[in-house]
Amino acid sequence: MAVNYNAKEEADGHPSGVGAPGGAGKSRKPDNTAFKQQRLPAWQPILTAGTVLPAFFIIGLIFIPIGIGIFVTSNNIREYEIDYTGTDSYSPCNKCLNVSWNSTSPCTCTINFTLDQPFETNVFMYYGLSNFYQNHRRYVKSRDDSQLNGDNSSLLNPSKECEPYSTSEGKPIAPCGAIANSMFNDTLELFRIDNETRIPITLNKKGIAWWTDKNVKFRNPSGNTNNLTALFQGTTKPVNWPKPVYMLDSETDNNGFINEDFIVWMRTAALPTFRKLYRLIERENNLQPTLQAGKYSLDITYNYPVHSFDGRKRMILSTISWMGGKNPFLGIAYITVGSICFFLGVVLLVIHHKYGNRNTSADIPN
């Protein structure tokens, strides 16, 4: 049975002139709408060498200067790094190398260094660790965020994820987990040496943690904040800490769970070699650089043992630019990708000239 299909606008969907078998039944023909008959208006781009050529050249010409700009900016950032692990016998911190977490008397060492060039803008002091896998899966899970958010029931009942660091001596640990337990506890102090006198440099410990961390994610247990000792009643300190969490700092807005060094440590790093913000050195006035060129001395209270796992510890002083710290990779990547784009543009130009203007009539192969 031949049906002559006229593509007239048949809104009701019934075929014209041919009755459906069975009389009054609905036709099963799909509606004659643009969507169902696949007649939607469409844009059909044809990518040929000639059409994408300009884009490649433009991208190449934009990326290369951006890359150069970023690379130059990164090179202008001042950075100074001191490794103070003390594995070498001539290092001042060698005597502290085998300190353990429960040493009664703290081991101190001093490293003298010289800054050749002044650090003009605000300086940031970091501590860096190497071969420390904060991205280990069980380590990362070993925390209780409800407890850190100040939930009183989680305070006395830490989650199972914190095992085996959830209870100690029969009491729940606050803060529980392996991340909190391994908190970095060296103390670093900076002095400028000016004709035999040591001038201490003010180190600011506020503003080193993320705002959301300090104000939303980490909260002390609810209650009278002036007496944190009472709020943490019934809990005990983490196994490897010298002091309990409510004695981290004398100021109440930096004590307990909201201590900024603790918050910075709890933000687990992505790679085994990482650095975390320790202190800020602010510029006093616009006339003088933040850190002048000259001799400096770093006083270290070496509490954190890293030698057992071949870890290394460093202190880094760095300035910051409009895009962050010193990192030449992005500039080099931009220059590379821009060059590749430009090169591909040239290749496409050659292809376009050789093949692009061939007779585009459809040669139908038999």
């Binding site: 844009w43 409800s146 962050g324 292809i351 009539s361």
Partner: protein, 222 residues
């Protein structure tokens, strides 16, 4: 299709999807993955990413990598699309937008809703990071530059029949001829009739057609 019945050969020979095409896509995906993972990791490995000196964490790197993945995948899908309808636009740009919205919401729901404590604050910090925006221009471009160049080169020196036919259609559209095609390549007869009033059975066409156009007649098996 009726004017170029040879176009049926494409599906008969599985030219569009066979083992060779599959492995080509797999290797391409491997290269994309290498770029998408290592570029952000190398950019962020120095842990100095914010102008206030604060540091990132592993989720920060992961979120940035994933955002680049979403952008690259959507653009790659768009590159493979031959006919962009409004649904294609919705899928490509809408997916990117949906991820952004989800990311923003997911980074803010703790502790009101007791899920995702580790994501709190991520969206704000990621969008505030200069390296993220610089990488957003760089990384998807680095992934797709080879694909676009490859496609353009192939279309120029090794056109398949399908691509030739598509080009002819666009050219004839530009020349203002009455032969209009829809996204499926079917003759849009009613539309052309309304516009130009020509005889829909025998529209004037380019002189290279191999055989005269036949009227659309469907035979249903009886």
């Amino acid at each position: 299709m009726l004017r170029f019945p040879q176009l049926y050969k494409i599906t008969q020979n599985a030219d569009g999807f066979n083992t060779r095409v599959f492995w080509g896509h797999c290797i391409n995906a491997l290269i994309h993955s290498i770029i998408l993972f290592w570029f952000p990791l190398k950019v962020l490995e120095h842990d100095a990413v914010f102008t206030n000196g604060q540091g990132p964490d592993y989720l920060f790197v992961g979120n940035i990598v994933y955002t680049y993945v979403v952008i690259t995948v959507c653009l790659k899908a768009g590159l493979e699309t031959t006919a962009w309808t409004k649904f294609s636009h919705l899928a490509v740009w809408g997916s990117m937008l949906l991820w952004l919205v989800f990311f923003g919401v997911y980074s803010a729901i703790w502790p009101t809703i007791p899920i995702a404590p580790d994501m709190l604050g991520q969206a704000g910090m990621v969008l505030r990071c200069g390296y993220f925006w610089l990488g957003l221009i760089l990384v998807p471009t680095a992934c797709l530059v080879k694909d676009v160049a490859w496609r353009a080169a192939k279309h120029t020196y090794h056109k398949t029949l399908l691509e030739q036919v598509q080009e002819l259609e666009t050219k004839s559209k530009e020349l203002g001829k009455t032969m209009l095609r829809d996204s499926n390549g079917k003759r849009f007869t009613s539309f052309s009739k309304r516009l130009h009033g020509d005889d829909v059975r025998n529209p004037p066409g380019p002189p290279f057609q191999p055989q005269p156009p036949t009227p659309c007649i469907f035979f249903s098996p009886s």
